[in-house]
Amino acid sequence: GRERLLKAFDTVNGHFSRLFTTLFGGGEASLALTESEDPLEAGLEIMVSPPGKKLGSMSLMSGGEQALTATALIFAVFLSNPAPICVLDEVDAPLDDANVARYCNLLDEMTKQTNTKFIAITHNAVTMSRMNRLFGVTMAEQGVSQLVSMELESAARLVAAE
């Protein structure tokens, strides 16, 4: 059990460091197992140094920087053992446009590296423009949801009409 966890830690850490630098366009980060002799009781710490900034714990970063770092961790776990389906519910909400663009680049990258189908719920116009297809959910009748296929161009109109 302990052997497998340490091995998983190394794999995830490798992916995480690389994904952090990709998503931040620079800088570096790594994971650490701490607080206990027994890795099954240990804590997972995240040490980060965004581009040009000093090394510190993730808790000292801005809201958007923390969200991007946590996203890198989730994708690192995913890449260690890719699932057939990946669903992301409003993961891009706290990100600025440059970070959203890098996040979408990473999604493109992962569709090439894996057979995984990705579904992203978003309110962000940049993310919408990077999807291969869009579905809209509406409540034409109050309280009753309907799913509609959408042209990529009409997403901008939907956002405007929201």
Binding site: L5, E41, L73, N81, I85, K117, I119, M128, M150, A155
Partner: protein
């Protein structure tokens, strides 16, 4: 395994039968606040055997059944069917004779959930094993709920470490 389609009937705000084709690459889901986007994704975790009502934003599992609106009465049953491709024949032996598997979960008010694969009744445990073998399942770290990123940031280091166990 490849996930091809999901059908919802009476599940939360999707009272009328809804088919959602799951295609390769990146699919975006958009719409106003409260229109049902997160409900659609919860149906995926639910049919895979999610057993925590709390993770479904429900007090009890019956809360996933369409509860009615001012204009429509509530239902007493909800079901979701997931269609997966098994041409790679990677499913557990009891399911491995078919190219296509239709996995259905039905909940009836006050009577709990039943599961079927290609119309044959199975146990919840069989469903969970089927998806676990395919590196997915209701608790897959690849299924990121709304607000889960914030939870990960705020989590105690020992709770955060659990995410590694999903990769192990």
């Amino acid at each position: 395994l490849a996930f091809n389609q999901i059908k919802l009937v009476g599940f939360k705000s999707f009272v009328d039968p809804t088919d959602f084709l799951i295609e390769p690459g990146l699919t975006g889901i958009v719409g106003p606040n409260g229109c049902g986007k997160s409900n659609l994704l919860e149906a995926i975790r639910w049919v895979m055997g999610a057993n925590s009502a709390k993770a479904m934003r429900a007090k009890g599992m019956d809360d996933v059944i369409f509860s009615g609106t001012k204009a429509r009465p509530g239902r007493n049953q909800a079901h979701v069917t997931l269609t997966v491709d098994n041409s790679a024949r990677v499913a557990p032996p009891m399911f491995n004779d078919d190219d296509v598997l239709e996995i259905t979960r039905i909940i009836t008010s006050g009577q709990g959930s039943k599961y079927k694969v290609n119309n044959k009744t199975v146990r919840a445990k069989d469903i969970q094993l089927l998806f676990a073998d395919a590196s997915t399942g209701a608790n897959s770290p690849a299924l990121v709920r709304q607000g889960q990123i914030s939870e990960l940031i705020a989590a105690k280091p020992s709770n955060r470490r659990r995410i590694l166990e999903e990769a192990a």
